[in-house]
Amino acid sequence: MVIYLKNIFTDAGNVTRFTARFFKEIIRPPFEIKEFIRQCYTIGYKSLPLVGITGFIMGLVMTIQTRPTLAQFGAESWLPGMVALSLIREITPVITALICAGKIASGIGAELGSMKVTEQIDAMEVSAINPYKYLVVTRILATTLMVPLLVIFADGIGILGGYIGINIHSDVNLYRYFSQVLASLAFLDIVPPTIKTFFFGFFIGLIGCYKGFNAANGTESVGKAANSAVVAASLAIFIIDMLAVQITDLFF
């Protein structure tokens, strides 16, 4: 028990130091612009299909599932607005972030973990290249920037999915559908959830990098790094989500 507690505190300390180093290195030149762009491409662009498909399905399924309830009250005309609200405020950010945790955090954890195990990170260090700057800063920045963009993309596709879902049973034209969606959205529905996604992205990158960078020696620790990155990142997403909702609730 004592050892368990001690481990938790050591871990917390290490993560804090790792995070502090990020903010220290990010402001200090040289900047690894090229690697950052490459990471944006692999993290953002390469995730588009996956995020798009899940976004579409979420929109479609949400519409089909919500319709009967609304129909009971004769409020079917609220359907577009309601679906858009729940998608944008909660479902798309969290589901997309979880998908990114599965794809990106594990990818980063495995990649950096195997670089650590095969001494590639050591090799950078001895050739006087700062591996933290080159590998970690660029990846965390890329996830922080790309996850929000992916969420916005998924929002759009999800609302489109909702349109198709509605047209299974009734006939609404696209223009009318979108004007209903837009009419139901206010500032509060868009900005706080978007801010939240930056934190999702930051922690997905941070946790993936931390787990990979601190992988122990030996090949089996690569798998462990990838696995624990997904678990920790998913948990972090839910915790951030809870905090974000509380804070929004408190201030608005």
């Binding site: 095969t118 090799a123 001895v126």
Partner: protein, 259 residues
């Protein structure tokens, strides 16, 4: 009067007797009851090839990792180019590291980069003023010197173990290091390739006047490349001498390396 001390005792390739590397009382342990190094003392003179022998797990790799502070020593002084590296800040440490080449036991090539990028990656960062043509020329030159000019656009995963070793060597050589640290440069290679690599190490010593530490289990390599040999045992340097001296040592354990 000047002639009183004739310049006789210059052994092999040793330029002069200024030590490039001095290790004094180096201690390192992993956990409380797992001491690895227990007071290693070592000097390597400028231009000298020092071979370190020792059983697997005796701490040879740890010793040279302490030398570039990849591993922090528990205790002990390490002087490289007359600087105590344990007192250096990050930027000064990097300035020293840039003058040292480190060949890793498993080559440690960057998996996600082609051979060309593996080589240009460190070079571009250290000599920012180089043009693309100059970088390309440097890459071609160093690849030719390790005999792998045609592998330039391959990925590391497409290379054999021996080729990876040589690319790893090329990657360190491209920065023209003054000190080379070789961690088992010939392990896992056939006799012929091993000899080629050993000869390459000798050629590098001659051409660039590098100071080298060579960790090896390969006695042919030790014999060919080593100006001096030390044996690591129980965390200290147990024996020291030339190949011929140690081969005839009175200590049976030392002799057992040479059978």
């Amino acid at each position: 009067m000047i002639q009183e001390e004739p310049n006789i005792q210059i052994p092999n390739n040793t330029e002069n007797s200024v030590p490039d590397i001095t290790i004094k009382g180096l201690y390192k342990s992993f956990g409380e009851n797992n001491p690895i190094l227990q007071g290693v003392n070592l000097t390597v003179k400028k231009g000298e090839n020092l071979v370190i022998l020792g059983k697997s797990g005796s701490g040879k790799s740890i010793t040279i990792k302490c030398l570039v502070r990849l591993v922090e020593a528990d205790k002990g002084e390490i002087f490289v180019f007359d600087t105590d590296i344990n007192t250096l800040g990050n930027s000064q440490l990097n300035a020293i590291r840039a003058r040292i080449g480190f060949l890793f036991q498993n080559s440690a090539l960057y998996d996600s980069m082609t051979v060309r990028e593996n080589l240009s990656f460190p070079l571009k960062r250290h000599s920012k003023q180089l043009t693309t043509d100059e970088v390309d020329a440097a890459i071609t030159e160093v690849l030719e010197s390790v005999g792998l000019a045609d592998a330039i656009d391959k990925m590391p995963s497409e290379l054999s173990g021996g080729m990876r070793k040589r690319i790893g060597l090329a990657r360190t050589l491209i920065l023209k290091p003054e000190i080379m640290l070789y961690d088992e440069p010939t392990t896992g290679l056939d006799t012929i390739t091993s000899r080629e690599i050993s000869e390459l190490i000798l050629a590098i010593q001659k051409k660039n006047k590098t100071t080298s530490i060579i960790i090896t289990h390969d006695m042919a390599c030790a014999k060919l490349t080593g100006d001096r040999i030390v044996i690591l045992k129980d965390g200290v340097i147990d024996a020291e001498g030339t190949y011929e001296e140690l081969e005839k040592s009175s200590d049976e354990w030392v002799r057992s390396f040479f059978i």
